[in-house]
Symmetry: C2
Subunit: 238 residues, 2 copies
């Protein structure tokens, strides 16, 4: 019997070469969009509407929606708040609908919508994801949001960790070099993740704007079993 | 003083996001185009004309040129030979002009031509490359040919090895995650390269066609100081 496939795509710009309509697509943007989205569901948000452009986000704001929007880590002035997971507090988000637009993450989510199911992945819900995908009996394709279509390390480390969990199940296999590379990098980093992340370019970008306080939180595993899923272009609880 | 940059681009499809007109661009396709090109110069070829499409290659053949052309590791029937480095013997290539078209490598070379200088890199000439680039005092951008626009490990290992050589020089620096990842993978693999390469997807592809005999050769370092350089769309000795 042919095995189920695990593949990793390092950039939204490479997604056309990896597209697989039979796969569950996990979109990740560890620093910080996917960590923030998972946190919002942990804190009771009802749905999140990911939008690609700031114009769309502003149009929703003008219609009375609560909007989280940033570019390059900076909150936009029309927005209610930016994309730090710490912004998505229960007081703000419980029972609410939130429109969300970020530099990399939300575009990746919209791009992924051709998959059979699109899930949002972060360290915060990694084991729940692995369990769900294995139960689904489908291929896995991990789409890393990257940084402006460039490869980034933090999403790759997450992809390696999740791939390794799937491949521990005999029904899964990979011949994807990007998956093998991600697993090796995960194993280089796992012993001392915070030291490894020190060298990550995104950390430099976040530090410039004093936004690096959330990094240890974004690398915490299994704080929740909640999995955000894309339904009709909106994110809801699976 | 601002340091010179080292960057690695994992796929021709990502090249627009890394493009740097001040950089020396090193194009690599370890298995097998760039290793074959370096070998051809070791064996006395006068020039190599890289062409993107099989139609162009065939048109050159019809005009009397010697043509090396393959797709997916299979020699095309109109061609004189395929792209194994072992095909580029002194008897065949010395003093000759050869037209060359491959699945990934030749398109990457043509794409890279916006750089200030385009060099062909392989393990076979890696130290000579490092020495030349450091002397040039320019940024380095390594373009991995990949496999049909997907990430591949063998080109990444080479990119990591070459990047590490540059970064030993104080004038060079990197904030490129792809470079940091490539260096880490190089350090995972370097202790036992052949065992590591066993798991590389390209090796599986080559083995299917009994073309894997060249792999140990393609990972041999510093067999030559020759560096092929692109001049007016043709490769000549630097």
């Amino acid at each position: 019997m042919e095995k189920l496939k695990v593949e990793v795509c390092y950039s939204p710009a490479l997604f056309p070469y990896y597209e697989n309509r039979d796969a569950v697509v996990v979109v990740t943007d560890v620093l910080r969009a996917s960590s923030a989205i998972v946190t919002a569901f942990m804190n009771g948000v009802e749905r999140i509407i990911p939008v690609g452009t700031l114009e769309e986000a502003k149009a929703y704001k003008d219609r009375g929606y609560m909007v989280a929007a940033e570019r390059d880590g900076i909150v936009r002035d029309f927005a209610d708040f930016g994309n730090s997971p710490y912004n998505f507090t229960p007081e703000r988000v419980q029972g609410k609908q939130i429109v969300y637009s970020t530099t990399n993450g939300t575009n990746a989510i919209k791009l992924a919508s051709s998959g059979s199911q699109v899930l949002i992945g972060a360290y915060l819900n990694i084991s729940a994801l692995a369990t769900h995908i294995i139960k689904s009996g489908r291929d896995l394709l991990i789409l890393c949001a990257g940084w402006k279509n460039k490869f980034n390390l933090e999403d790759t480390l997450f992809a390696g960790a999740l791939s390794e969990m799937l491949l521990e199940d005999d029904r899964y296999n990979t011949i994807c070099d990007a998956t093998l590379g991600a697993i090796d990098l995960h194993n280089v980093a796992r012993g001392n993740m915070m030291a490894y992340v020190e060298k990550v370019a995104q950390k430099g970008r976040l530090r410039v704007n004093n936004l690096d306080d959330v990094i240890p939180y974004c690398f915490e595993s299994d704080l929740t079993e909640l999995i955000p899923v894309l339904m009709d272009d909106q994110l809801v609880r699976l």
